[in-house]
């Protein structure tokens, strides 16, 4: 049964600190993520979604509960690099993801250290070029460039280029759209779809914007105060929300067709 499950979590929690100062970031959460599925973890900042994502990435360990990856405990392979060959991530702020002291190209090439058999230098260059093309960047455009010389949208695509190089089974995308222009968001979502369809990736998309989740996911998990308060297919969650948290998240989207902050306030302010 567990064959086609990528991740399986049973009652996992993550507590930081001890005693009175203990903070429960993730609180007794269970879920199963199927192969080739895009699932979204949605919630406000501080709801525990990033900590949960870090557990899937094996950057944090659950304090309690069991987390299986491909049917085996996530720590089953002693060397975490085995895990990172299969599970990779893109983070929120692309500028802080790159070291400002090295060129971007050199940092992309650093991904090859994860490979069990490192390709030849010529092949590495070739594959970096291909990955850049996959995210619509002309390889020569970034030659010799440092992170601060590119725009936010370009940098976010550099993070995605890394994924095209590594071709992991699972991608954890932690708020990849929140630092880019509204008009580049759609293209980031397109790349996520492309990774799913062309490279059969399973994607865990962490976001505070339920609107984005609605577009890309096969399943949405709403998180609040460390717990998953609602989960289901995007149409159910957005059209027939059960939990108050979900309703609030939907209400707070500044949709142009709906009243957002009672209209008279805006009108009054505008006069």
């Amino acid at each position: 049964m567990t064959e086609h499950l990528k991740f399986e979590a049973t009652h996992i929690s993550r507590v930081f600190g001890h005693g009175k100062k203990a903070v429960t970031a993730v609180d007794d959460v269970s879920f199963a993520i199927k192969d080739r599925e895009i699932i979204s973890l949605v919630g406000q900042s501080g709801c525990g979604k990033t900590v949960l994502a870090k557990m899937l990435l094996r950057l944090e360990q659950p304090t309690r509960g069991e987390l299986l990856f491909n049917g085996k405990p996530i720590t089953a392979t002693g060397d975490p690099r085995n895990h990172w060959r299969q599970v990779q991530a893109v983070f929120q702020d692309p500028f802080s993801c790159f070291n400002q002291f090295f060129t971007i190209r050199n940092q992309l090439k650093a991904s090859f250290r994860l490979f069990e058999k490192k390709p030849s230098p010529a092949e590495i260059e070739e594959r970096v070029d291909q990955a850049l093309l996959a995210v619509n960047i002309k390889p020569r455009e970034i030659d010799g460039k440092f992170p601060f010389e590119l725009s936010g949208g370009q940098m976010q695509r550099m993070l995605l280029a890394r994924i095209f190089i590594l071709k992991p089974q699972v991608l954890i995308a932690d708020e990849p759209t929140s630092m880019v222009d509204a008009c580049s968001r759609a293209s980031i979502l397109d790349y996520l779809m492309k990774l799913k369809e062309e490279l059969s990736m399973t994607i865990v998309f962490v976001t505070h914007d339920i609107g984005l989740a609605y577009y890309v996911s096969d399943s949405i998990y709403i998180m609040h105060k460390g717990k998953i308060v609602e989960q289901g297919p995007p149409d159910d969650v957005t059209q027939r929300p059960q939990s108050d948290v979900t309703k609030r998240l939907l209400e707070d989207i500044p949709d142009v067709h709906r009243e957002w902050i009672p209209r008279e306030a805006a009108v009054a302010a505008a006069r």
């Binding site: 609605y214 142009v256 306030a265 505008a270």
Partner: protein, 356 residues
């Protein structure tokens, strides 16, 4: 006691009607601003922008990063600190020109008093090692060195309770001791302490989650209703958000306004391919909208280090015609708003993005 006689009143929690708009407070006339790169290239980041802002009005300025909106803000505040230079044009607040001042003069007479900015990362703009009171006191002292301690304290207490804070407690706290929402109120409260004529909100909500975004904007409205803020420039890359914020919208591209009209006109009936494309990148959770895929605008805004012949958006425009690249576009009135597009009055532009 020489405390300014501000009326003490209980914080108004919700929106309330406001008096009608008055006279023009901010006038920007054919403003051009450039900066010099390390290699000496001249980048004309703001290239002939004209608009005015009335008392009580909110003008939204939308565009993606690199379109010149942040440079426009510096220009409007008279902050010409190298490598940023004033090329030509004028900025007047209350009829008085603020260009051509030295940075010291500007800091003393203009910033905070005539025009103030709400910082982008409101939560990170507070110095963690100082109490809220000390930072607020600095703000007053920077414009009135002679203010005595008691006057300042009274003024701070009055203002902080007016924006709905427990003044005594908050003023004596360090930023880390305060919850995020309170910190936000403090930042906005400190920036508007001197009752500036114009408040500039430069992406105050980007990188915030939707609920926090909503609470920040609610707070700004609240301050407007209390007349702590009288008029506002709201800068954002999220054009759809302006539907709920501003009464008029200017869409900026490559240093120029490409569409400038009322909120209704720009949001629901845009006549310029770029503003329509910005709307088209919006995501909606309304039923049945999932199939309507948002379209990204490929490419990036031009660098502006050399003049661009013809329409500046032509290279990215999905409906560009051969003659778009050869004829310079000027702002002209189409359908009651200013538009910079040769085909603004044709059905051609309607093929691009647009509203849901």
């Amino acid at each position: 006691m020489t405390a300014p006689a501000l009326p003490v009143q209980a914080p108004v929690p919700g929106p309330a009607p406001k008096p009608a708009a008055g006279k023009v407070v901010l006038e920007v006339e054919d403003l051009r601003v450039h900066y010099l790169t390390r290699f000496g290239a001249k980048i004309q980041a703001v290239d002939g922008v004209t608009f005015s802002l009335k008392q009580g009005e909110i003008l939204g300025i939308a565009g993606e990063s690199g379109c010149g909106k942040t440079t426009l803000v510096s220009g409007c505040m008279g902050l010409y600190i190298p490598p940023l230079y004033h090329t030509s044009g004028d900025v007047r607040i209350d009829g008085q020109s603020i260009v051509g001042m030295t940075p010291e003069q500007n800091r003393k007479e203009v910033l905070g008093r005539k025009i103030a900015m709400i910082p982008q990362g409101a939560l990170n703009s507070l110095n963690p090692t100082r109490k809220i009171k000390d930072m607020a006191t600095d703000m007053i002292l920077s414009h009135d060195e002679s203010a005595d301690k008691k006057t300042i304290n009274d003024r701070l207490r009055e203002r902080f309770s007016r924006i709905g804070l427990d003044a005594q407690k908050v003023l004596n706290s360090y930023p880390v001791e305060l919850p995020a929402g309170t910190k936000q109120r403090c930042v906005i409260g400190i920036s508007t302490l001197l009752n500036p004529k114009v408040v500039v909100a430069d992406e105050p909500t980007s990188a915030l989650d939707v609920s926090t975004q909503k609470s920040v904007i609610r707070l700004l409205f609240e301050l407007m209703n209390q007349e702590i803020i009288s008029s506002m420039l709201f800068i954002t890359h999220e054009l759809p958000l302006l539907r709920h914020v501003s009464s008029s919208i200017a869409v900026m591209y490559a240093g120029e306004f490409v569409e400038y009209g009322s909120t209704e006109q720009v949001i629901f009936d845009g006549r310029q391919p770029y503003s329509r494309a910005l709307m088209g990148s919006m995501l909606s959770t309304e039923p049945g909208q999932k199939s309507r895929k948002p379209v990204a605008i490929e490419g990036a805004p031009p660098k502006l280090d050399k003049p661009i012949p013809g329409c500046r958006f032509a290279e990215r425009c999905p409906v560009a015609q051969p003659d778009c690249r050869s004829t310079d576009q000027v702002l002209r009135v189409v359908g009651g708003r200013q538009v910079r597009c040769k085909y603004a009055d044709t059905d051609l532009v309607k093929q691009v993005g647009g509203t849901v």
